[in-house]
């Protein structure tokens, strides 16, 4: 029975990774850049929630909406100020800038909120479920996290398949110049991608801090890196890939903690990544791109 509990907790943690990885993978797929500041947007989302709920005393749902709005705006501003001027620059320059933005966000949070760990009040008000005569307990956070991530992934896939903006994203991800020739506003499409990715980061932040109720300026860093691993694991650029990668990573991490060693769990996670990339360099669902000249 404890195995099932570990598994469910792993899926729950994995769902959070999946939400973060979706943002990573969308931005990578469309703007062809790794936004290493993505994890820190989660942290900003967490602090926004903290301030809105604890200082202003607003209800959790309102707080989540405000956090989504702030993170979306932040994502769009970061893209405009830091990444857009580098559209023609080498990928390395953009990568270094992203790392810079990451440190900037962490240090701004450090300046405003200090280094002390804040205790976070959960935004989830759903009651826990008890199964098998109390042998398996599923917390409200777990239920909400899993359901939210499934709905968001399906929503994203439908958005890309059915909406005009989604089709524009597909075109931009393949060839920006050709997309422009179709009448697609490439810059606006990239901005929209950052907005969606950052909104997802805010939701991930709310769920992450509810499940693990501590908050520091570095809260987003490690989940950010792991979600990046999840995105690569699943095949970077692929939305279902990010989802599957996230869930698997969460399960592997939790089972390693339970059965092997809690200190070694992170090492095992990264070792699995290395093995997967050796066997299948494009990740689980990644497509091999044949470029025809």
């Amino acid at each position: 029975m404890s195995f099932i509990s570990y598994l469910i907790n792993g899926i729950s943690l994995g769902s959070i990774y999946a939400l973060i990885a979706l943002g990573y993978t969308m931005v990578y797929g469309i703007a062809k850049m790794l936004n290493f500041a993505h994890g820190d947007i989660i942290m900003i989302g967490g602090f926004t929630l903290f301030v809105v709920m604890n200082t202003l005393g607003l209800p959790p749902l309102v707080a989540v909406l405000i956090a989504i709005a702030i993170c979306t705006a932040l994502g769009v501003i970061i893209e405009k100020v830091a990444y857009k001027p580098l559209r023609q620059a080498s990928p390395l320059a953009v990568l270094i800038t992203a790392i810079g933005v990451s440190y900037l966000l962490q240090n701004v949070a450090l300046l405003i909120f200090g280094a002390n760990t804040k205790l976070f009040t959960s935004v989830v008000t759903v009651p826990a479920i008890s199964l098998a005569e109390g042998q398996i307990n599923i917390s409200g956070e777990t239920t909400v996290t899993i359901i939210a991530s499934i709905i968001i992934m399906i929503g994203l896939m439908l958005f890309i398949k059915k909406s005009k903006a989604g089709q524009a994203m597909l075109a931009v991800s393949e060839d920006k110049g050709a997309a422009e020739l179709m009448g697609i506003n490439v810059n606006a499409t990239i901005t929209l991608t950052f907005a969606i990715g950052s909104a997802l980061a805010a939701i991930a932040g709310a769920l992450l801090c509810s499940a693990y109720p501590t908050l520091t300026p570095y809260t987003g860093a490690m989940p950010g890196i792991k979600a990046f691993v999840a995105a690569v694991f699943g095949g970077i650029g692929s939305i279902p890939g990010a989802f599957i990668g996230g869930i698997l990573l969460g399960i592997i991490e939790n089972l390693s903690k339970a059965y092997i060693s809690s200190q070694m769990a992170d090492a095992i996670v990264f070792a699995v990544l290395i093995v997967v990339l050796l066997v299948k360099p494009t990740g689980i669902l990644g497509k091999k791109i044949n470029e025809k000249v």
Binding site: K164, A171, E174, D175, G177, A178, E180, L181, N290
Partner: protein, 236 residues
């Protein structure tokens, strides 16, 4: 008043001046050929017209609109389509998705369906392969797809960059027949080609480009008989 007018256009790549002040015009209903060797600046000119590259001097006017500084995606809405060099189809998307992408600027679903039918009539092969991803098509089929995709926007003028490049002689023949058809149906064509003989055979007028400058212009039939053109571009 010309439909498309390029005046004293200059384009720089960094410090290098690629286009050194050229002027030309395209009238409604014409087929105009820009011919010249590799590196003469033909592709650069097309990219500058459709807004993928910005000019450093000069003016581009399309149907009384100054489009010199207009971003590329807005120019498409005015009725200009560009079939880029190397086709640049969306290789991960299906043929049908590519064609639908071509109609991105249009809203009326019925009109889009009608244009799609027209494109399928012109290129029956595209209909046969509509659910195939574009990357699996042959070079000639990709060229057809790129042209069909451009037609999907229902353009007034269509810019074609090296449509015959890398194609087998049979496909070259077919592509040029289709360009003639497109012109006959009332769409103006600006054609960039290295295959000067073919281009001159279907064009009304032509401009000969050499290292960023127009060195010769005139009636296509006359240029075909011009000694210097024959020697440099027709291989006679």
């Amino acid at each position: 008043m010309a439909m498309l007018e390029i005046k004293d256009l200059e384009v720089h790549y960094g410090v290098i001046k690629a286009i050194k002040g050229i002027s030309f015009e395209v009238n409604q209903g014409e087929v105009i050929a820009l011919i010249g060797a590799n590196g003469a600046g033909k592709t650069t000119i097309l990219h500058t017209i459709t807004g993928l590259i910005s000019s450093s001097a000069g003016k581009i006017t399309f149907e009384d609109n100054d489009i010199t500084k207009l971003p590329g995606h807005k120019i498409v809405y005015l009725g200009m389509a560009h079939v880029p060099e190397g086709r640049r189809v969306f290789s991960q998307l299906t043929v049908l998705q590519n064609l639908k992408m071509g109609a991105y600027t249009r809203k009326d679903k019925q009109e889009i369906e009608d244009t799609l039918k027209m494109v399928y009539e012109k290129f029956p092969r595209l209909e046969e392969r509509k659910n195939q991803t574009a990357g699996t098509l042959s070079g000639g089929e990709q060229q057809m797809l790129a042209m069909g995709r451009a037609l999907m926007s229902h353009p007034k003028i269509i810019l074609m960059d090296e449509p015959s490049m890398g194609l087998s002689p049979i496909f070259v023949e077919e592509i040029f027949n289709i360009i003639k058809e497109i012109s006959a149906s009332g769409t103006t064509v600006l054609l960039v080609e290295q295959n000067a003989k073919k281009a001159l055979s279907i064009a009304n007028r032509a401009y000969v480009l050499e290292t960023g400058k127009i060195v010769l212009e005139g009636d296509a039939k006359e240029l075909m008989n011009d000694e210097s053109v024959k020697k440099a571009y027709l291989g006679e």
